[in-house]
Symmetry: C2
Subunit: 334 residues, 2 copies
């Protein structure tokens, strides 16, 4: 049974005293230090004592002595892939926790309003990003003592190369093309926080449309709170647009909603496809076609990269193998 927690925390010295060995021996046992032989008998006594006394190593002291912390910071752009990604990350967090690492996720890539990035205040040992960081961000991390950064600075230059950005946008367009649409619009969101990501997705979509010989109309931002979505739908419809590529499922819902309110039929008068396959896509009436990425695999990959940086373990899967595909629903199929 664990003893009543005294005012002072249990340190490794307490265990040493309790067992009757030196503090170093305790450390060797608890850390299973390679290259150190400790007899099975002693090892057992140390472990028993640690459990009985309720020993928890002092993070600050361990970090200081080791010269690095055990925090891994994961930076996701926007709320890319949203709730499903979060859930999938649990598995990665579990694996990392087993190795003694804490996984902290920062949902938005670029916090606004003068909030210092988490890596400055947390002191993570590793920062993993979905996309590449800007040179300023890298400098800030380095100054804050972050030793390992992934993707490596300059490894993959921009959002365009990150999985699920250009890929998903192209698939949206391909899907509409296959269904016979020849004149499409791209809908974005009025959010300064993710201009970059939106821009990249929109560019990829436009480019793909051009490759396929489709016509596109100018990018428009919609917001369900003002009249912009209703206006956009009216303009598009008058302009002969038959389908809309939306930045994400919220935008798709906004557009589809505005179309329905305007008396148009979705998808007969205006088809809509979203991105990320978030809950709203399947809950909306009609259900929204969307792009789904294999978040489980993505999370597994990110965890593997993190463990590689932290522990030196080999990375098994690869980024580019990520499965991305269209989830066709009634908002395009009718």
């Amino acid at each position: 049974m664990p003893e009543v927690a005294a005012s002072r925390r249990v340190t490794s010295a307490d265990i040493a005293k309790d067992v009757g060995v030196s503090r170093a021996t305790v450390g060797f046992v608890l850390n299973s230090t390679p290259g150190k032989k400790i007899s099975e008998a002693t090892r057992a006594r140390v472990l028993e004592s640690a459990a009985r006394l309720g020993y928890q190593p002092n993070r600050a002291a361990a970090d200081l002595a080791r010269g690095r912390s055990k925090i891994i910071l994961l930076v996701l752009p926007d709320r890319l892939l949203g709730p499903s990604m979060q859930a999938s990350l649990d598995e990665g967090a579990r694996v990392l926790a087993e190795a003694g690492y804490a996984l902290v996720t920062q949902p938005q890539a670029r916090p606004l309003g003068g909030i210092p990035p988490l890596w400055e205040t947390l002191g993570p040992d590793v920062v993993i990003g979905w996309t590449t960081f800007t040179p300023e961000e890298v400098m800030s991390m380095r100054a804050a003592g972050v030793r390992r950064i992934r993707p490596r600075p300059g490894e993959s230059a921009r959002y365009d190369q990150a999985p699920g950005v250009a890929e998903g946008a192209r698939m949206q367009v391909d899907h509409l093309h296959e269904l016979g649409h020849r004149r499409i619009a791209v809908a974005a969101l009025n959010d300064p926080q993710m201009i970059e990501l939106q821009r990249s997705r929109a560019d990829a979509a436009m480019q793909r449309a051009e490759e396929l010989g489709m016509e596109t109309v100018a990018l428009r931002s919609v917001d369900h709170r003002d009249g912009s979505s209703a206006e956009a739908v009216r303009i598009w419809h008058d302009d002969g647009v038959t389908a809309v590529v939306a930045y994400n499922d919220d935008v798709a819902a906004t557009v589809a909603g505005a179309a329905i309110e305007a008396g148009l039929r979705v998808p007969q008068d205006l088809a809509v496809i979203g991105h990320d396959d978030s809950p709203i896509a399947s809950l909306f009436v009609p259900p929204l076609s969307s792009i789904r990425m294999d978040t489980v695999e993505a999370a597994r990959y990110l965890a593997a990269v993190a463990l590689h940086e932290a522990d030196g373990r080999p990375v098994t899967s690869t980024w580019t193998a990520l499965d991305t595909r269209v989830v066709a629903r009634r908002s395009t199929l009718g």
Copy 2:
């Protein structure tokens, strides 16, 4: 201009050497230690040197010496209040960052699948919860060296007392009662991760209905992926239920969607009210009535509590003053 970062990090000893004073003096200046007078001239030289050399204090060392970390962990139940809460917390994070604290939020209260709670691996100085923690959780925190826990163990016993739990559920029922509904159903979600919270909200709703002399039917869990929502809607409608209180907006959308697909009119044949006023509530067609809490004020309060625990600053606002109200939309108003 900041110098090129050498291999070794800049320590306060480097500054001391650079300025020509002792390390203690550097510490006094950088921490503005109360009760220590340092001449303005020396202070300026230290600060200049720190900036020039790009000094960043070593968190681990500071934490060790201080005996406490500068991490504040915020535990939110479920994804209560979802994205809006997250956004509102930014302000709190900024204030805390100014005081040198890192705010880490853990979205779900009780992680599943053997993931150790973040407080074990992160070593936060303060843990703030939206609701009270279980005795086991408190013990686990204590063992992990967490010194300050809010709400204080035993301060407010259960979910029922947390703001936005019973309150919101009662308002949902009140709203339906005012609109003339007399026989209602309560819809939950099939998610083991938040049984407690759902149970509390459902209980509060049922109890309120009874107080108002309304009839209720048994609680049902719905899931849009199987046929359970369609079945629930059919049963409810056959049973004379005219309105549904949903655990959250996703559940409300599920129910409303199933009703529409079944050819019922929302709200004429079946009214639905959600909770949290998440994006889907306003994007759905018809837009869903919901419960909105003042997340800005909530976040401000949580930040104030955190700062109080960390810094000893007084707490100005109060928990109970939180503004919770119905956002009436077409899913109940018609």
